[in-house]
């Protein structure tokens, strides 16, 4: 039923309906942002990649072939873009071109509208940023999005065996970090 509705919206958007795109964007924007935020660990980066993903969605939706669900396709784009962003950022850092302080200062422009939510986000960012990227990727998709290994495999293109191993190590690391926090 949900997929049918999405299919109709995609077809309407491709036929020129902006309203159809708005509906799709309204549904997926928070999902995309949450995934980016968990992967990247701060608002500014997450905001940048979220916009990028939605622009891709707007410009490339005509290439979506309904072979997988739209959410899988969106997760795939979001994951790839986030990983690319992390790589670029590491490179910029290496070349002393990245201004992390400015990003921390601007992280006040957040999407959390109250103190409690803001604190939660900050705590989550702290923990997740300490996990290696590959493990983080699986942990987010499995633990927060509750996707199956098969779905994650479709998104990341990795074997389920490898994903399980990564998830195991991520769980180990997260529980250790939470012990340290105490």
């Amino acid at each position: 039923m949900i997929f049918e509705r999405e299919k109709i919206l995609i077809e309407e958007f491709l036929a020129g309906s902006e309203l159809a795109f708005n509906e799709l964007a309204r549904k997926y924007q928070p999902v995309i942002y949450a995934h980016c935020r968990r992967m990247l660990g701060n608002h500014m980066d997450a905001d940048e990649v979220t916009q990028e993903v939605l622009i891709v969605l707007y410009n490339k939706l005509n290439t979506f072939q309904f072979k997988s669900s739209l959410s899988t396709w969106i997760y795939r784009v979001t994951t790839t873009r986030s990983l690319n962003f992390i790589k670029k950022k590491s490179l910029r850092k290496f070349l002393f071109l990245d201004d992390d302080e400015a990003r921390v200062l601007h992280s006040g422009d957040d999407v959390a509208n109250d103190y409690e939510n803001k604190t939660r986000l900050e705590n989550l960012d702290k923990v997740l940023q300490k996990i290696p990227v590959k493990q983080r990727e699986v942990f987010i998709l499995r633990h927060f999005e509750e996707l199956t290994y098969e779905e994650i495999s479709e998104i990341t293109g990795k074997s389920t065996g490898g994903l399980k191993a990564n998830y195991f190590h991520a769980l180990k690391k997260v529980t250790e970090l939470m012990e340290d926090e105490k």
Partner: protein
């Protein structure tokens, strides 16, 4: 926590079916294991709770407008870039085609023009005109003339043509036609080839 790895293995779905069954059986009977299991699950539950954040919807609403602006701008920019690239490529291709076409046509029409001039001079038995044409072309652009003779399949070693030229036009001996009369066939070939090679392609 001595069972941590086993519990995490179970939670990661890394156990074989038999192993999994045995673990679940042990979990229901082993108090210590059950306690550890609950503790780890609580920890993981806490982090999941932290992820359950309510976002400000105003941010997403305003973001959508920005995204559309950027998407339009990118599309326009892409269209512009593509149209510029296409126009430039088309212009270059047309110029190249016209250049070669023009060059070929120029040669072709020049050959025809000179050939017609020459042919009409021969048939009209107008020696002065023929003399003028041959002299003009032989001295001013002999490589071109060589090319022309090749086009018209005129062979200088052809004794018949030499004879015809001498008889019909009563050409003075001191002109360049001495090549035709006095030089050996081998020398003529050599000169002819030299002329052909001198042509700038």
């Amino acid at each position: 926590m001595k069972n941590k790895d086993t519990i995490l293995k179970y939670l990661s779905d890394m156990m074989l079916p038999d192993e999994k069954k045995a673990f679940e059986k042990k979990l229901s009977g082993d108090h210590e294991l059950a306690e550890e299991f609950e503790l780890l699950n609580n920890k993981l539950g806490r982090i999941k709770e932290n992820a359950n954040v309510k976002f400000d919807n105003r941010y997403f609403a305003s973001n959508l407008v920005n995204i559309k602006d950027k998407a339009y701008a990118r599309k326009r920019r892409n269209t512009k870039v593509y149209s510029y690239a296409f126009s430039s490529a088309a212009a270059v291709i047309i110029m190249v085609v016209l250049f070669f076409q023009g060059e070929k046509q120029g040669d072709f029409f020049d050959s025809i023009e000179l050939g017609q001039e020459l042919y009409s001079a021969i048939t009209n038995t107008d020696s002065s005109e023929l003399d003028y044409i041959l002299k003009k072309d032989m001295f001013s652009n002999y490589s071109y003339y060589g090319d022309l003779t090749a086009d018209l399949t005129i062979d200088f070693s052809n004794a018949e043509l030499n004879g015809a030229l001498e008889t019909n036009y009563n050409l003075p001996y001191n002109y360049n036609y001495e090549i035709l009369d006095d030089v050996s066939n081998e020398k003529i070939d050599e000169l002819y080839n030299e002329i052909l090679e001198t042509k700038i392609l």
